[in-house]
Subunit: 287 residues, 2 copies
């Protein structure tokens, strides 16, 4: 029997620390790596990052957009990268930010979270614009397949606050809450199941590394037992030390995602860079 | 020189009326059409819908999820369907609901809206959870390529209201607005450009056919000159007559999307069903 996503994530975090290596083969990086702007370029890039990451970090996070750019041939390249990563024992978070309802969303779940699907990953990022409760079936499907989700909650781009801090009325609780809080509350119910024994549950949140949690209405209570995927470490501004200052007692539940700071090292230096960066996080958390 | 998306959409609406045929090859439909649950099944399904739609409706809307379900081979099938549709003179709205920031979003634009990309469509549906203003560059890129966007604004699924009616503070205007209103206001600026001469602009909104516009904070002023993609007609509950009762003076700017009501007719009856449904809308608008 497969362990639940939360259990697998906990084991990976304990073994390797929080670093998650983003696989973002955008045009400028392909160029600096000396690779073509085509499906073969993103395949070579992705496989090299997987090789450099294997056994050294908890997870990789391929950014689907950069493969989708090349259509079906880009997806074939992504399939090879996902398969290599899973074969190497890396947890795979497909960063696709899909979001829809009903059978349409079931199609995305089937694409990314169904065992033996060509695009099989361990977890998928999803968007809650259609209402956090619209993800209820998606959450159930992920849990049943022992897979995970990371639901967009609070992101660190400056334009995000207008929507994510908007106040939504909760009639039952007779109070108003931020959208980010409401998303967190309404999607993490599955983590409270006794099946997960108080450990990490399968339903995570995307929370930017430089987000002020209090300002977005996120507190330790709503985040307890919830995996956190935090983009924004490295070149985007957050340092390993921020893991503790931003996330406090929850720091041990965070996948700290870095892309440019690692990928920019180029093919010859990437493995050493991953070793160095991973050690920095281990130091912060282990110290 | 290619005409802007708004001009092409206006011409298609004037020629064929508002009906947009959804291409949603989900498992149950593949089965009832006698097709396999595989890439070949969705290819055959999609090409048949294109053939039945050509010359009879303004647009088709393939639901990307149902092709993505089969990975790279599903995307290869989708490429064939998109290419056939564009070759047949149909406007193509890729219903993918992508949403991200920076170079990642540029990757999605490149995938779906770049001329000669294998997945080239005329317009793409996108999600504003990362903040409506985060779509600014995406809007610019779409306009430059003479392509269109439909930004998720107000959807008709019951779980949507919690987020879409949340109140966001507009400091400059010293007032608070619904999220749906803020999205509409912040993404439709491009339509006001004098380049579009007061006709339809290129930046549309997704507004469910059964949504109460007033309740979501959407009024005629914010929607003027804006293409509207309205799913929910047909089997999902809205009738052609609702086009006028729901959208009033804006009804002429609406693409009324039907899926199940048309696709459920099966391969032998789909062409006749499209002719019948298209005529019903023409009657409502022309009468």
């Amino acid at each position: 029997m497969t362990a639940s996503f939360g259990v697998r994530l906990r084991a990976a975090l304990d073994a390797h620390g929080p670093l998650c290596v983003g696989i973002d083969p955008h045009a400028a990086l392909l160029e600096s790596w000396g690779l073509g702007q085509d499906a073969e370029g993103v395949r070579t890039f992705g496989l090299a990052v997987v090789e450099a990451s294997a056994g050294r970090v908890a997870a990789i996070k391929p950014q689907v957009s950069f493969f989708e750019r090349f259509g079906s041939r880009g997806f074939a390249a992504l399939e090879d990268v996902l398969s290599a990563a899973r074969g190497a024992g890396l947890l795979v978070v497909a960063d696709a930010k899909r979001g829809d309802i009903g059978t349409t969303m079931a199609g995305y779940v089937s694409a990314w979270l169904e065992p033996d699907s060509p695009l099989e990953a361990d977890a998928l990022t999803v968007s809650p614009y259609l209402g956090p409760d619209s993800l209820r079936e998606t959450i159930g499907a992920a849990v049943r397949a022992d897979k995970g989700l990371f639901v967009l909650a609070a992101t660190s781009n400056p334009e995000a606050a207008a929507l994510q801090t908007a106040r939504t009325i909760d009639v039952e609780a007779a109070e108003d809450q931020s959208v980010a809080h409401r998303v967190a509350r309404d999607v993490t119910w599955a983590n409270r199941s006794t099946v997960f024994g108080g450990g990490l549950g399968p339903i995570g949140l995307v929370i930017g590394a430089t987000v002020d949690l209090g300002e977005r209405g996120l507190d330790d209570e709503v985040l307890a037992g919830t995996p956190i995927l935090a983009p924004g470490f490295g070149a985007q501004g957050a340092s390993p030390g921020d893991l503790l200052t931003r996330f406090g007692t929850l720091a041990g539940n965070v996948l700290a995602s870095e892309s440019r700071s690692i990928l920019g090292a180029g093919p010859d230096r990437i493995a050493d860079t991953i070793i160095e960066r991973a050690a920095l996080y281990q130091e912060v958390l282990g110290g």
